[in-house]
């Protein structure tokens, strides 16, 4: 309808705050930052001239902590990084330890891991969807998305014993076998999801106000996406082929039939569409696997005390927010010598200033919503 937003392709250059400029702190206690992100914004009227992020309000130095934890123990801390895709973080750590130990993970464990990864991805996107709509001023989607997310949480709780920070993956497999009800529960979830998913389009995607708030906002070009190191739906919204599950497949992803969702818009709406379509792809993966869980062990035999050979190990996985890399430097001991988490949110946040410069305050909220920032993931 009254679509007027021009895509600001080249971020305008502004000088230092001058006459008539307001410097406003958004966050750390702000409803739209989903946590304790602190942005120092320079405003001219309603137009944003500059954004300076200020991080670290929940920095726990997880990397330093991991240096004193053994290879079995450090996995649990990573659940607390990006708490919305805790399983996938754990997966990355388990994979990197297995890579160092050269352990063959049983087929059953791999399938279980992929199933839980995809369920986590859906749950994460559901929460993002609700929270993003809430940022834009619509409260109802938040509650509707939690209805489906709750179903996933129940599945998690039943098998893993927790709802958010599960610590279910261990080096060599998973901690326990699946709960007997797992398959039935997942199928129930798929039925519910398919019954309710059209409401997402009715309530939000098709809404004219929503589309106008989203289209043309927070544009970032493919070159800038690569330069800023953005990954995940942010990169794919600009058409950059960046899904780690396709780029360098891990676990059993190379054998699965799913598509990498690519949109070429580069704006908030493209990122939104990518996430919505990714949920469908995750459902597709779950449907392929849920009836074909192979029998066998759920955990490979590993030694009681794990020692990674001297060397450097890197493994990246695709979390709900993008590429999570785990870089371990081992000196041959029981604990990592140095560990580095390349978190997706950190790089995605660095592109925020570039995206929003010259936009309005409302655009900041809309663009930040589609970046899907999880603050513990950025601060670590």
């Amino acid at each position: 309808m009254y679509r007027e937003t021009e895509i600001i392709k080249d971020a305008p250059q502004f000088g230092e705050p001058g006459f008539g400029d307001l410097v406003i702190n958004v966050g750390p206690q702000h409803p739209a930052t989903h946590g304790v992100l602190h942005l120092i914004i320079t405003l001219n009227g309603e137009t944003i001239k500059d954004i300076k992020p200020n991080l670290g309000y929940i920095h726990r130095s997880i990397e330093k902590m991991c240096e004193s934890l053994t290879y079995r123990q450090f996995i649990y801390v990573t659940s607390r990084m990006d708490y919305l895709s805790a399983h996938i973080n754990n997966h990355a750590c388990a994979l990197v330890v297995e890579k160092g130990l050269q352990v063959e993970v049983p087929e059953r464990a791999q399938v279980i891991r992929v199933l839980f990864d995809e369920l986590t991805r859906i749950a994460s996107h559901e929460l993002w969807w609700g929270a993003m709509a809430m940022d834009l001023g619509a409260f109802t989607p938040f509650f509707h998305s939690f209805r489906e997310r709750e179903t996933i949480n129940v599945i998690m709780e039943e098998t893993c014993g927790a709802r958010l920070t599960m610590n279910y993956y261990v080096p060599g497999g998973v901690m326990w076998d699946l709960h007997p009800d797992f398959q039935k529960r997942v199928k129930d979830f798929i039925t519910l999801y398919k019954k309710k998913i059209h409401e997402y389009d009715e309530l939000v995607t098709g809404n004219i106000i929503f589309q106008n708030r989203m289209k043309g906002i927070g544009y970032i070009s493919p070159e800038d996406v690569i330069s800023y190191g953005c990954t995940g739906p942010v990169a794919r919204g600009s058409g950059v082929h960046s899904d780690i599950r396709k780029v360098s497949p891990y676990s059993i992803y190379s054998k699965l039939d799913f598509d990498e969702v690519l949109e070429t818009g580069g704006d908030s709406f493209a990122r939104y569409v990518v996430r919505i379509k990714e949920m469908h792809q995750s459902i597709k993966i779950i449907e392929q696997l849920i009836d074909n869980i192979p029998e066998g062990d759920f955990q490979a035999k590993t030694k009681a005390v794990l020692k990674l050979p001297k060397g450097e190990y890197y493994q990246s996985v695709e979390t709900a927010r993008g590429e999570l890399g785990v870089y371990i430097v081992s000196e041959g001991g029981t604990t990592p010598y140095r560990i580095k988490f390349r978190s997706p949110g950190f790089s995605n946040l660095s592109a925020l200033n570039h995206m929003i410069k010259g936009g309005k305050i409302g655009d900041l909220i809309a663009a930040m919503g589609t970046l899907d920032l999880v603050i513990p993931d950025i601060d670590r």
Binding site: Q73, V77, R147, E157, E158, T159, G161, A162, M175, E202
Partner: protein, 159 residues
């Protein structure tokens, strides 16, 4: 045509708004869809998954015996030091041999992150996670618990 596009725009916009309102209207009139749980009221019927990791407990059987030998592998496995095992030496009444046993199994619930690594590490399955979650107390010290009961012993045959 400008006017035609203009009207078309408005029509499609109104339609999209009406679609959303139809959906919310549906939920407004269909109270069966409500999913709220009324938590403190449904305590009696609340079923938690049996695997739910709420706190570490040490099951004792009817003879007040448990399976913990005091090997401290759980203490070593714990990533944040919420377990502290104080051992003592028991004298076996029949053979007269001195045997290592636990004196106090201290559990810091206030430090615990419910990762379940201690349960995994236990060689004798002496501890397990219990599906409880109402841990709030006014004094933090109350969260430091002694898991083995007074006068309890190691079950015979557990090594």
């Amino acid at each position: 045509m400008f006017i035609k596009d203009y009207i078309k725009d408005i029509a499609s916009a109104l339609k999209s708004l009406a679609t959303g309102m139809k959906m919310t209207g549906y939920y407004f009139t269909h109270h069966k869809e409500i999913i709220t749980e009324q938590y403190p009221d449904n305590r009696d019927t609340l079923v938690l998954a049996e695997r739910f990791k709420g706190e570490v407990v040490m099951p004792h059987d009817e003879n007040n015996e448990h399976a913990c030998t005091g090997c401290t592998s759980c203490e070593l496995a714990c990533p944040n030091g919420s377990i502290k095992i104080i051992t003592k030496f028991d004298v076996d009444a029949e053979t007269g041999k001195r045997k290592k046993a636990i004196d106090t199994w201290v559990y810091h619930l206030d430090l615990c992150t419910m990762c379940g690594l201690c349960v995994e590490a236990c060689p004798t399955n002496a501890i397990k996670m219990a599906p409880t979650f109402e841990h709030s107390v006014f004094d933090r010290n109350k969260l430091v618990k002694k898991l083995n009961e007074d006068g309890s012993k190691v079950r015979a045959g557990v090594e």
